[in-house]
Amino acid sequence: MPDYDAIVIGAGNGGLSAAAGLARRGIRTLLCERHNVPGGCATSFIRGRFEFEVALHQLSGLGTPDKPGPLRGLLQQIGVIDQIDFVEEDTLYRTGIPGVFDVTLKADRSEIVHALKEKFPSEKKAIENFIGLVWEFCHQLISIYYFRDQHASKDRYPLYFKYALKTGGQVLDEFFEDPCLKMAIASYWGYVGLPPSRISFSDLAMLLWAYTEFKPYHMKGGSQALSNAIVDSFLKAGGNVRFNCGVKKIIVSGGKAVGVITEYGDEIRARSVISNASTISTYTDLIDPETVSPAMLKKLASRTLGPSAVSVYCGLDCEPGDLGIEVSTRFISLNTDMDRQFALCRTFDSPEMCGLTCYDVADPEFSPAGACQVVLISLQYADHWYQIPPMQYADTKYRFAKGLLDIAELVHPGFKDSIEEVEVSTPLTHLRYLGHPGGSFYGFDQYAKDSNLFVSPLSPVQGLYSAGAWVGMGGFQPALESGAAAAKAVCRYLEE
């Protein structure tokens, strides 16, 4: 008799929601996490009097209690919805180029249209048309995939069939002239990790639509509060958790996953395994690559690693208002060339685009009284970081971080003088803490070819399932959803 029905490898968002989903269905589950705290990306660390949020800038998909989004139901099902204090933000973001343009978009369709028309009066009509397209497109997409319309066809959903696989850039170009306007609308591109010229219109439209309809959220205590709440729910449902317990191998016998071997050499048997480790790790390291069919390895090789980032975590000894920080999320660009900004993600050159998140705007209790926390972020791929000699790593990291601080200082003078604590993370930091190649926290790059229209989650062996950003898209909501789906799939498998 195996020790467990299921073993979950990794306590990131995907692993956590899978584990809780299983335990709450009465399935004997063990959760193994390499690190000493749960969460993966969804975690925090303390410096001085600040507890820094590592990853969550804006939680998507939650929705309000009376207009719930898909995530609300999921969190309800895994028993944590009442354990977390959510903080709703009324603004999507403020975006612009210092000295050129500056616009703030509220999380409300008509206010978005209004704000854009005011800033870009010569393209009023196009703005209305474009936002109309985004909303109608997303409704069609939802009907097809979430409500599973059995009769989906080109005639029923013309907008979806016309635009789904275009790039965001193609559609923006079709509607607009002003590059600033295009940037104002596409500022969320960093949340998928590809600029408008490469992101699919589906992804770009869904970002704008979903964050507006379901509102951006944050949590009291940061995302660590979510991770801890899920572990708590998991334990209450009878689950077992082991921290500081990396999995070295998945045991495969007779073409089936039947357990794991931990880094300490312990062999634990189970009837099924869910991996929240990266697909690369799962397929090339945790199971013997010979177990994986050549066709599957080829598919894997045709994909590319998504970006990581440099984050500059700043504890400031002032209130956000003292520096003129009035919205939680701000995107600051130095030019309208988003392709160039994206190209810079592969170099150490000074970044020309920076995300600035201040958690204390919506939640004044987030930091100690009289202080606030700001995270500056710029996407970065990892390859060039691999090349630096270790002795030069610190200098490189600080030089890059200084570029981001310079941008913050430009739009919020006095920023640098308010710094009480600073910590910098790089792709190598994420690589270390997550164990993912490239330090990628979004999983694979998300071109149209990488969407689930073309990629179906297959497993190389029976009884092995995957959860997390590597399965579909990156982000809290997708990772949590993939975990819930994996838990369901395992239940079906165990019943058979």
Partner: protein, 385 residues
């Protein structure tokens, strides 16, 4: 849902074609997982096998141990970081963090400098039983007490007490050897002139480098001593450091000394953002802490039950992690001062004392997690590891 409808999406066929080409000619974009391990180990090996290559006497009660790697190489570190040294003494597996005192300029070796502590379990072991040629395990470099060029500026005041000089020695060696453009005022407190670690080297470096000044403060001066005497007071700090505006103050001594100095800083209106401090251990006697419950005596013992199975005895006056280690239970640990959260465990029931300033996450507090190195039992406990 009929799957075929997807093929009617504009552009579907093109992407399908692109994919088949990609898969046909797929070069291995994906580098193996092994790279992740290799890169992580380059900076943060889990454990380092060290050999003691040399032991030097610094003062009658302090020695420097030089570690060279027994295999592999030593990762770079920031001057000010520490390594955790693992030992087994009297059958107990435990560890203590020691700041690296050597210069980060080279990583052929790391040196730590150990001062004898009365009753110190690990320091006595390292001073009395370890010989050149012996092998030991350590962690990689850890800790956050180091110069950050993003906001520390160029005007630094180091305040050290006793063995608290060790991180500063590494920083001073770095700044002077590399010719960094940073000014350092070192204010170094010791009981007697005989206790001054690195005395000759510090004086010599101060003579050669105009950007370094060294002031020794002796709290129990012998008759006729003519240097600074007494404690490190605000007047003294101001006298030595001059104008304090724009300076960054680094503090490293016993918890008692750090507390005293923080009060002196307050008198000088030095803001939190201009103070960096590294606690060199928890308070010597935890029961003297202001919030310690009067009803619990230092040597009171409690039963700790583990994962619903094994039980062991723990004393109120010592960190829980020590009791666990005595019972043969190792909890991962690094800083042993409540900062790094490596020793995080779940408190299922019972009550512990956690000194102010222990860095436990907000949601960890809420869900009952504690840091075993900085938790003192006040009742019988049930814990989960």
């Amino acid at each position: 849902m009929n799957r075929d409808f997807r093929t009617e999406i504009e552009g579907y066929r093109e992407i399908e074609k692109e994919l088949s080409v990609l898969q046909k000619y797929a070069i291995q974009n994906i580098r193996p997982q092994e790279l992740v391990t290799r890169i992580t180990d380059r900076f943060h090996p889990k454990r380092i096998k060290m050999r003691v290559s040399e032991i030097r006497e610094e003062t009658p009660d302090a020695r420097t141990l030089r570690f060279v790697p027994a295999e592999g190489y030593l990762p770079p570190f920031h001057a000010g970081q520490y390594i955790n040294v693992y030992i087994t003494a009297k059958g107990i597996r435990t560890a203590r963090p020691y700041s690296i005192s050597s210069s980060p300029f080279q990583t052929a070796y790391y040196e730590i400098t150990i001062k004898r502590v009365t009753g110190g379990f690990v320091s006595s072991y390292l001073l009395d039983t370890v010989n050149p040629g012996d092998d030991l395990e350590t962690s990689g470099p850890e800790g956050h007490f180091y110069y950050n060029p993003l906001f520390h500026g160029n005007d630094l005041v180091f305040i050290a007490g006793g063995s608290g000089i060790t991180p500063f020695m590494s920083m001073i060696r770095e700044v002077t050897d590399r010719g960094h453009d940073r000014t350092i005022h070192l204010i170094y407190g010791n009981r007697s002139p005989d206790n001054i670690i690195f005395d000759a080297e510090l004086k010599e470096r101060a003579q050669r480098h105009t950007n370094l000044t060294v002031a020794n403060i002796i709290s129990e001066p012998p008759k006729g001593y003519d240097g600074y005497c007494g404690l490190i007071t605000s007047e003294l700090i101001q006298k030595i450091a001059g104008d304090i505006s724009g300076k960054m103050f680094y503090l490293c001594g016993s918890e008692e000394m750090n507390r005293f100095c923080r009060e002196e800083f307050a008198k000088l209106n030095i803001q939190a953002k201009h103070i960096r401090s590294d606690s060199f251990g928890l308070p010597g006697d935890i029961t003297l802490e202001p919030d310690w419950p009067a009803s619990v005596r230092k040597n009171e013992s409690f039963i700790v039950m583990l994962n619903g199975g094994v039980s062991l005895t723990a004393f109120a006056g010592e960190p829980l992690i020590n009791a666990l280690e005595r019972a043969g239970i190792t909890v991962p640990n690094s800083c042993r001062t409540g900062e790094c959260s490596l020793c995080r465990i779940r408190l299922v029931s019972g009550e512990v004392f956690q000194p102010a300033g222990v860095k436990v996450r907000k949601s960890d507090r809420r869900f009952g997690y504690i840091h075993a190195c900085a938790s003192y039992p006040l009742t019988d406990l049930k814990i989960m590891i």
